[in-house]
Subunit: 138 residues, 2 copies
DNA sequence: TTGACTGCAAATGCTTTGCACCATT
DNA sequence: AATGGTGCAAAGCATTTGCAGTCAA
């Protein structure tokens, strides 16, 4: 997903494409990590010092509502972390370094659907996070 | 697990068994839901009006550190929710009623261990939450 | 006795909001 | 022109903490 794609989705959703939003969208699309609101704010200020924290919060909130970003709250730290919605995946958090590894698993997808159905529910969403320590770290 | 069991675990861990703690432990053991700090506080006040919110926070924090309770942060609401640690299980949250259904699955346990190992990690902890809507609600 | 525990109130820290001004459409 | 967006500062809220008094061991 490019920044242009994301901008278009926002426009389609009825949002005005302002300068602060363009900066924030670009930061999100290019982030290789899972930045916190504070992180996004710091990066945004480098490009436009006038951008305020409030705008970052409001923009991330809107994007989350629209489903264009995912908001994570890893039990690791206190801060919410964001990433642009793309292919469905889950996270493994390295308890020592805080590093986040993404993974997918068709097996998990199948089982969670099955479990929800067995319980009498239609699965709408799901959160799976693994927390671990690196093996034979040498 | 009875309140006595839990009290003993706290004593073994070196905690002093005070009146406020006894009340809180009893509330947790008998809770059939997943009470928030506020919930525990409200229930505690019914038995001893002098118990303070700070003590509830401190006690739940200690119990969490000792691994005697689990702290959950469902994406549903803002409040942390607690439950006494017992058999390992996961949760399905009813998006409409907020009801929480517990479930276990050996398949999930096997797969998550396998995934962690494949990624080069020793699994220490894991969070799996399903969010759904009740099927054919009639 | 004494270190741990408690209630209280103040302090924190992340997030939200009211408001007046400004920019996109 | 109209509506939605922005920065700023103040307000909110869940949670934490300093402190002096209290209590379990």
């Amino acid at each position: 997903m490019t920044a242009i794609d994301l901008e278009q989705k926002c426009i389609d959703a009825g949002l005005k494409m302002t300068a602060p939003r363009k900066v924030i969208l670009d930061i999100l699309v290019h982030a290789k990590d899972h930045p916190s609101v504070e992180d996004v704010y710091e990066r945004a200020k480098e490009r436009d010092a006038s951008i305020s924290m409030a705008t970052v919060y409001r923009t991330l909130g809107l994007l989350d509502e629209l489903g264009l970003v995912f908001r994570h709250e890893f039990s690791d730290d206190q801060h919410a972390r964001y990433e642009v919605s793309s292919e469905h995946h889950h996270h493994l958090i390295d308890l020592e370094s805080g590093k986040i590894v993404e993974f997918q698993s068709q097996e998990i997808e199948d089982i969670k659907l099955k479990i929800a159905e067995e319980l009498g529910y239609e699965l709408v969403e799901c959160r799976l996070e693994l927390y671990g320590k690196k093996l034979n770290a040498k």
